[in-house]
């Protein structure tokens, strides 16, 4: 099954019943598949007039308690930033499928470009099978923490075909959501309010108090940041002189190259962060213990390297060995995403480290 189809099928299996999107490569196929898969299960897929409306529609659907999702690629997600941050403050769950062009949107995904103090957990699968495994995790995290959660893939993930099994989830739909709107509390004297400005009604003699609400939303965000378990794939780091850190599609290539180099006796290991936020800081620290150097390989000009440096905090040198791999399309494919070339860069770095 192709990655986009598998992700869409996994979303429906995880109980997603609303999707809205605007076509953009390499996200388009997710939208196509959701338009195909949702109506037969009683769900709704909207072809929104822009990414602004796509996330707005998903926001409205999520407010009714439905498992809802949207997505795009970096440019479209740039348009969604205001809504993502506002939904964090309003504490509304959402899954955002980010099919990136290359890995240049790491900062956008992990820091966000919206206003205020907010964070979104980011899951970065490297294979179709892992994506299928992480899709229900994304919905569960979103519901559990009442916060948007991002699944960050790329062109390769969306267009790679792999044999996978999408499990049917009996729990799909999640827990009851007492905050969700259905209109029924109208006239009760306690009508629900779902707002980024606060939950206190004027009748309580309080009204909107942003100082109080932002403190509470901030505390929830911090609890989420501490409570979401970082995920990481680590290999061959015990006696490694060089530890290579890479995520997503690139992480898959790096893992393969490192295993090959190990079989030839080179003292090299890898760390592949699966959650980009929260970043698997402890795993990186542990992997780098005893290493002479840490190398970071990304298909961008160096973004995750900041998180690696913030993890090891100067206890170990951290060097960037990645770089852009683009063809004329700008979709983040290109000749550098090639195991022999990645092997050559890792080997060159290992030789440099061993020589110093």
């Amino acid at each position: 099954m192709e990655g986009s189809e598998a992700i869409a099928e996994a979303m429906v299996a995880a109980g997603c019943r609303f999707f809205a999107g605007y076509p953009m490569t390499p996200f388009t196929e997710i939208l196509e598949r959701m338009a195909e898969f949702l109506p037969p299960v009683g769900g709704v897929c909207m072809n929104a007039e822009s990414e602004l409306e796509a996330i707005g529609m998903a926001w409205g659907a999520a407010a009714t308690g439905a498992r809802a999702a949207t997505g795009s690629t970096g440019q479209g997600l740039a348009l969604m930033q205001e809504s993502i941050s506002e939904m964090c403050t309003a504490r509304i769950p959402l899954v955002v499928i980010n099919m990136g062009r290359g890995q240049g949107d790491y900062f956008q995904a992990t820091r966000g470009g919206g206003h205020g103090d907010y964070r979104t957990p980011v899951l970065a699968p490297s294979t179709v099978a892992e994506a299928v495994e992480l899709v229900p995790v994304a919905f569960e995290l979103a519901d559990a923490w009442r916060n948007p959660v991002m699944l960050y893939g790329d062109y390769y993930l969306g267009h790679t075909s792999q044999a996978v099994e999408v499990p049917d989830l009996v729990t799909a739909g999640g827990e009851a959501k007492p905050w969700a709107l259905d209109g029924s509390t109208g006239g009760s004297g306690q009508a629900k309010l779902l707002s980024s400005l606060g939950e206190a009604k004027q009748r309580d003699g309080v009204g909107y108090d942003l100082a109080e609400h932002l403190e509470r939303a901030g505390a929830a965000m911090q609890a989420m940041s501490a409570g979401v378990e970082p995920r990481c794939d680590v290999g061959h780091c015990d006696d490694a002189d060089l530890v290579v850190v890479a995520f997503g599609t690139i992480g898959r290539f790096v893992r393969w190259v490192v295993k090959e180099l190990r079989s030839e006796g080179y003292r090299v290991g890898y760390v592949r962060p699966i959650t980009l936020f929260p970043f698997p800081r402890d795993a990186v620290i542990e992997a780098a213990r005893g290493a002479k150097s840490v190398a970071v390989y990304e298909n961008n000009l160096g973004q995750m390297i900041d998180d690696v440096r913030l993890s090891v905090l100067g206890s170990c040198p951290v060097e960037f060995i990645g770089g852009l791999s683009m063809d004329s399309s700008g979709f983040g494919v290109g000749s550098e995403i090639d195991a022999p070339k990645i092997r050559a860069r890792i080997l060159a770095e290992l030789e440099r480290v061993e020589a110093t």
Binding site: R17, M46, G56, T64, S83, L181, G187, L194, L197
Partner: protein, 268 residues
């Protein structure tokens, strides 16, 4: 609670003095507004418009299945002051949220409340596409021709010649362009089923606007598609005039361009 008297053949609501049997603000407040006092300026038309909307919801018997989506403006003061369910949207974005709500809860009565800055400036695309889709929701526009909350700045519905804080000598079409007649625009679209423009500057217009709101909600209840009620509201603060001058200013200035009446559908 309000007093009426017979003037000639017409029953007239007395608004020039307090009814004898009411002493507190709450005595004038409909059940679905939680607290009588609000922080909007004296002479503001928005509370009358919102009161009218919630009274229509009550009359329709839809209180326990209404979900309202609020934009950002002065009227947001009511988003946490109603006893109907409220979803707060970003500035300009209420129609897309309402779309998601309605698609997942087709049996709910779903309405948006936005101002002219919110709907016609920031979110014009949202409301036009919702209308074009024939989305079965009701969008309410509170149109006073200024950004009231920021202190009286030009919006897309400010009429020619109208003084605002950043058009001190009046809106000049050479420099500032022309106002958008949003109601007329929406009425021209295929997906809109009911479109009307009312006002709250006098009792007659309030009564007429209430009939428009009722017709819009009934349009949604019958599943006929997009319904839209534009309500001209007074903003003496943003118009830089005396409070008591605002109703006439609305009639003479705003309603001269944004003409009151049913623009599409319905018999009312």
């Amino acid at each position: 609670m309000s007093e009426t008297e017979l003037v000639g053949q017409r029953v007239v609501l007395r608004t020039d003095r307090r009814p004898d049997n009411a002493t507190l603000v709450d005595d004038f407040t409909p059940d679905l507004v939680d607290v009588g006092a609000h922080h909007l300026c004296p002479g503001c038309g928005e509370p009358i418009a919102i009161r009218s909307a919630v009274e229509c919801i009550a009359e329709l018997g839809a209180v326990e299945r209404t979900i309202s989506v609020f934009g950002i403006g002065c009227y947001t003061a009511f988003s946490n002051n109603l006893d109907v369910e409220v979803l707060q949207a970003l500035h300009g974005r209420a129609p897309s949220l309402a779309t998601g709500v309605k698609r997942m809860r087709p049996d709910a009565l779903v309405l948006t409340v936005q101002g002219d800055g919110d709907m016609v400036n920031e979110g014009l695309q949202e409301v036009l596409h919702a209308a074009a889709r024939g989305e079965n929701i009701t969008c309410i526009l509170l149109n006073n021709g200024v950004f009231g909350e920021t202190g009286g700045h030009i919006t897309s519905t400010t009429v020619l010649g109208q003084r605002t804080k950043n058009t001190l000598d009046g809106r000049d079409p050479e420099r500032d362009g022309y106002p958008i007649l949003i109601g007329d625009l929406i009425a021209s679209m295929g997906g809109s089923a009911y479109v009307a423009r009312g006002a709250v500057n006098d009792a007659g217009n309030v009564a007429r606007t209430r009939r428009m709101l009722a017709a819009a909600f009934e349009t949604q209840e019958r599943g006929e598609g997009f319904s839209f009620v534009e309500i001209l509201t007074m903003c003496p603060t943003g118009w830089f005039i005396e409070t008591h001058e605002a109703p006439d200013y609305l009639a003479d200035v705003l309603a001269g361009t944004h003409q009151i009446g049913v623009l599409k559908g319905g018999s009312r």
